[in-house]
């Protein structure tokens, strides 16, 4: 489910960046806006974000309100309609699907973004620290990563959610935890090359403490690779969340996520209510497309080798 390859591909990004220094950002920006697919996706992503965070103001309905008068016969009364302002129709419990898709998109994006933030922050700090300290500390820390990477983490997530109960926080932590390992490896590799640069040696020589060096001088130089990794991680975490929702361990009702909506819609397949799967799936797909293309675009932009 998690492509280790993104990591491998990123190595090139980082090398290029280390060599080129500051002006890289301007180059990258120029390259990015020349990439049509990425640019369109960025605009699309903007729309999705506006929809997710402001879409509810277009609807008079509440996402948890059950309209019992329509609930009688959702198949016929609950179809999408402009007249009663149920733009996407009703879902199978008789609630407004439009506002629920808005809420679901918001939560799915949040899970993806916060989860990948957790992964990136933990992974970068861990990797940079190991790489900077070197020697025995480094090899112990990296052996731990080797061990953890062999653990089937999807299953650990299931266990965690089963054991500690389900909550937003657990979900963020859980999905973040399974993806920081690759980030740690990349960050370490990068740190090894940066650590011998003059500016780092100068800082060390003037007596700056190791942690300050890592935070002030090493981490900022990892920014490019971190951004790309994080962008490509978001859609993968959204997919992971949908699987967790399918298992019934996702977000708590009446709140919802795209994964929960799709999973519920999929259970109604063939029952004559195609909108229940159609709308959430549409937003799920365009969100993922947008993130993947923007991520690919960022990577290409930051890696001058690949046009």
């Amino acid at each position: 489910m998690f492509s280790r390859t993104t990591a491998d591909q990123l190595a090139g990004v980082a090398n290029a960046q280390a060599v080129k220094g500051r002006s890289l950002w301007q180059d990258a920006f120029r390259r990015f806006i020349r990439n049509r697919a990425a640019l369109i996706s960025l605009v699309l992503l903007g729309f999705v974000l506006v929809f997710a965070f402001f879409g509810q103001y277009l609807s008079p309905h509440e996402p948890d309100f059950v309209d019992f008068s329509l609930r009688r016969d959702i198949k016929n009364l609950g179809a999408p309609s402009i007249e009663n302002a149920h733009f996407f129709g009703l879902e199978q419990e008789g609630r407004d699907l439009y506002t629920r898709v808005v809420q679901g998109t918001r939560i799915s994006i949040l899970v993806g973004v916060i989860g990948s933030l957790v992964a990136v922050v933990v992974g970068t700090l861990y990797g940079a620290f190991a790489g900077y300290m070197g020697g025995r500390i480094d090899s112990v820390m990296m052996r731990i990563v080797d061990i953890l990477i062999a653990i089937p983490f999807m299953f650990v997530i299931i266990l965690l959610l089963v054991v500690f109960g389900r909550s937003m926080v657990m979900l963020f932590v859980g999905v973040g935890l399974i993806s920081w390992l690759d980030m740690a490896r990349i960050a370490r590799g990068q740190t090894l090359t940066i650590k011998n640069k003059e500016f780092v040696e100068a800082a060390v020589a003037t007596g700056v403490k190791p942690f300050t060096v890592i935070l002030r001088h090493i981490v900022p130089n990892l920014a490019g690779i971190v951004i790309v990794y994080a962008t490509l991680l978001i859609p993968q975490l959204i997919i992971t969340e949908s699987f967790i929702s399918f298992l019934g361990l996702g977000i708590q009702e009446p709140m919802t996520s795209l994964g929960a909506l799709i999973s519920a819609g999929a259970s109604q397949l063939g029952f004559g209510t195609p909108w229940m799967i159609g709308f959430p799936l549409f937003f799920f797909l365009i969100t993922l497309y947008a993130f993947f293309f923007v991520g690919d675009g960022l990577r290409d932009a930051l890696d001058p080798k690949d046009r």
């Binding site: 390859t5 591909q9 080797d146 089937p152 266990l159 997919i239 999929a266 063939g270 799936l281 293309f293």
Partner: protein, 307 residues
């Protein structure tokens, strides 16, 4: 090389031990137990059952006994839920099923994925490329819990070509739908990775030289480009293979194939500790093994790598 393998096995042992301990801790921390039910068992009956399975022993002794039985007798204990079956029985019956459909999914995913990726790379920035990228992102994003019921509705209910589930000893017609459902998202990832690493290779110096020498495109791709372009794909294939052959909850639960994927999730929910442990250990061991195989293949493809 041998010492490399030996070192990897040295890491494998603590990994598995850690896995066992972590799973044990999580299970003991989990609320409920394997014998809770809507209708609680009378205390005496519960005590008898716990005595039979050794759950009345102190935790350290349970862990020790477990490890002892696994290591010395290769006995993973009885299932708590399926009372007349042992974990060895369950794995012996379920794993070959998972292995079969997982293996074929792997084969399909690699063949289709690599072909799609290579074609997209060769026809870079043409409609074919866009189509291939579009299809693969879509395939990666479409959750397989949506795809599985759709496949059944189309191929079983509407067309009547294939059975909607079951295993029947793994006959071809029972294999088709699970393989499609399982391979799609892996196929998509493989295509995307192949495409981008192929692009990178095609733009590199030695391919330009080959082109300058007037070698034909087909020859360049097959003889020179494919092998180095496969490196990043390989590092993805190891973990992907493990994920595929250790089963998919979704495939097992929608197609009733009887693989071990569904056992694990059910075991986590039922607190069937021994089944959960058995499968976790199996997965961990396979992950370690396949990561090792991938590393060895790496060395074979890229002679620059030394261990």
């Amino acid at each position: 090389m041998l010492s490399f393998i030996a070192r990897r096995f040295a890491v494998a042992i603590p990994t598995i031990l850690i896995l066992i301990v972590v799973s044990f801790v999580l299970m003991f921390a989990a609320p409920g137990g394997p014998f809770n039910a809507e209708r609680p068992l009378p205390p005496q009956v519960l005590a008898n059952i716990e005595a039979k399975y050794g759950l009345d022993q102190p935790y350290w002794k349970q862990i020790f006994d477990y490890v002892w039985n696994v290591v010395v007798h290769f006995d993973f204990g009885p299932s708590f839920k399926y009372k007349d079956r042992s974990v060895n029985d369950i794995i012996a019956q379920g794993f070959p099923v998972t292995l079969t459909y997982g293996f074929w999914s792997f084969v399909v995913a690699v063949i289709v994925g690599v072909t799609l990726g290579v074609v997209a790379a060769i026809r870079h920035n043409t409609w074919l490329d866009y189509l291939a990228v579009g299809i693969s992102i879509g395939a990666q994003s479409l959750p397989n819990f949506v795809m599985a019921p759709m496949l059944v509705i189309v191929f079983t209910l509407w067309l009547g070509w294939l059975p909607g589930g079951g295993w029947n000893g793994g006959q071809l017609q029972y294999l088709v739908l699970p393989v499609i459902a399982l391979s799609t998202s892996y196929m998509a990832s493989i295509a995307r990775i192949t495409r981008s690493s192929m692009l990178e290779v095609l733009n590199s110096g030695f391919i330009r030289t080959a082109r300058a020498k007037g070698l034909s495109d087909g020859r360049i791709i097959l003889r020179h480009a494919l092998k180095p372009a496969m490196l990043p794909v390989l590092s993805y294939l190891g973990p992907a293979f493990v994920l595929m052959v250790t089963g998919s909850v979704i495939v097992d639960s929608y197609f009733s194939t009887g693989g071990i994927g569904v056992y694990f999730v059910n075991a986590a929910f039922n607190r069937d500790y021994s089944v959960m442990m058995g499968i976790t250990i199996l997965m961990g061991a396979l992950t370690i093994l396949f990561n090792l195989i991938v590393d060895l293949l790496y060395a074979w493809i890229d002679p620059k790598i030394r261990y």
